[in-house]
Amino acid sequence: MNRYRQQRLGFALLTLVALIVVLPILAVILSVVVQGISAINWEFLTAMPRSGMKEGGIFPAIVGTLLLVLGTAVVCIPMGVGGAIYLSEYARDTWATRAIRLAIVNLAGIPSIVYGLFGLGLFVLFLQLGTSILAGSLTLAIMTLPVIISTAEEALRAVPVEFRTVSASLGGTRWQGIRNIVLPQALPGIITGVILGLLRAAGETAPILFTVAAFYLPRLPQSPFDQTMALPYHLYVISTQVPGMPLSVQYGTALVLLVLVLSMNVVATVVRSHFRRRRQW
């Protein structure tokens, strides 16, 4: 077999692998859309659930998920980006910072149910926040932090060191260089990390299971100390805990969650490419 043939065979195999990877995703999206679209209507999106969730809408679950994502973002964006700035720009390479980095990498790999139990122990019980949006957001934030810290640190490190040197040589303090030059250049990467982290938070069931999610609560939360319904948990409930639930409602709920997550993804991509056009290297 000559080398051109080998190359053609290689290309064919790689294309096949790529298709195999993409196909299941397309299949999932397609089946959710096809089976769920019939359930989607104005009432489904804006009404409270009725008669044991078999009728009415999923409005409180949508609002609950949005509130949880918002709460998570408020907590973990400043902490995550701040931590990344510290690790990338200020921390010297010592055993302590190496241990911190190792911990962050490992935290990213912990199963989400463990975060759920941790949140139950720390926020719900010990800090007595109760089963609440606050406790749920904090739990999701802790789960999201490692993702944000490591992607943001990587984005900051990708900015060439020379920019910092130039800023310093013009009398800038370290912080002035970070604020004026490094951070704006790293922004696309940081935003990517933030969105990826928040997407995961939006779709997780386990961390909110014991910390915030309500089984059936047909009203909107009034304060951060209220429980709320949330899309992933609601989906889990109506798929496994409620006998005789119409299939279209289950798929309709899945479709709403999917669209929510995908549209956040699109927003992220647009924002990122907007900032990337201004990048200098």
Binding site: T165, A168, L170, T173
Partner: protein
């Protein structure tokens, strides 16, 4: 050279990155309002010494320094010295021109703005004066609000010089400022150096022996971390005292 005229005094400086010593017991006096050249083959410690003079190597971890560097008789490594103020007095131009993100105007004004200058009229004056001194004004005066990275390489390097001059430094350090430039741009940069030495103390690491000979009022020859010979430029290039200096400037090595 008499003690009075020395702007920068390097005294017994030894410097190491980790275990590797890159400067050994260096003593140099840099005269005021003249061009001083640090020449020698690569790895001689010239750039390191340059970066020590405005404390840019503070940004590097795991280094060791002994000895003193005096600016106008004051130890720049003494406790209580403001590094930001020092770097405003001692500007630096790097081998590769690196415009900051933003327009030409924003680049020139980066330093003054960080220093807290806000007056628009004053800032406009600084832009014009700095670009004129860097011999760039005529080429760019109509497009000050264009992105800086749209300039040619030679223009970018003169913009970087203007950016340093905007802070009205007393000393200008240049690390192979023409290494990436064509001969015409190089001539323009050298031309502006001749203008600048009337008002500034200039220290340059040249990118060739020829350039060193063209611009040097005073020269110091570095070889593998040691200072071999220093003296007035004319003397060092026409009648070097040390065999190694002679070998280098006549092109026998390096």
């Amino acid at each position: 050279m008499d003690e009075q005229a020395a702007k920068i005094q390097v005294e017994n400086v030894t410097y190491a990155y980790g275990e590797q010593e890159v400067l050994r017991d260096i003593n140099v006096a840099v005269p005021d309002r003249a061009i001083t050249v640090f020449l020698g083959p690569a790895g001689g410690g010239k750039t390191t010494l340059l970066r020590l003079i405005n404390r840019l190597n503070d940004l590097v971890d795991n280094t060791r320094m002994t000895g003193r560097i005096l600016l106008d008789g004051q130890d720049i490594y003494a406790p209580g010295i403001s590094v930001s103020d020092l770097r405003r007095r001692v500007g630096m131009v790097f081998a590769l021109p690196l415009p900051l993100p933003g327009t030409l105007r924003e680049n020139v004004l980066y330093g003054p703005r960080l220093a807290g200058l806000r007056d628009r009229k004053r800032l406009d004056e600084i832009v014009e004066r700095s670009l004129i001194r860097a011999a760039l004004w005529d080429e760019v005066k109509d497009r000050l609000d264009d992105p800086a990275n749209r300039l040619s390489g030679g223009q970018q390097q003169r913009l970087c010089i203007a950016r340093s001059l905007a802070l009205e430094p007393e000393v200008l350090l240049l690390d192979e400022p023409t290494s990436g430039l064509d001969p015409i741009s190089t001539a323009k940069v050298e031309e502006s150096l001749f203008q600048l030495k009337k008002d500034y103390t200039i220290v340059i690491v040249p990118h060739s022996v020829q350039q060193a000979a063209r611009v040097a009022d005073f020269a110091a020859f570095f070889l593998m971390g040691e200072l071999v010979e220093q003296g007035p430029g004319k003397a060092l290039f026409t009648s070097p005292q040390d065999k190694r200096t002679e070998d280098y400037i006549t092109g026998r090595f390096g």
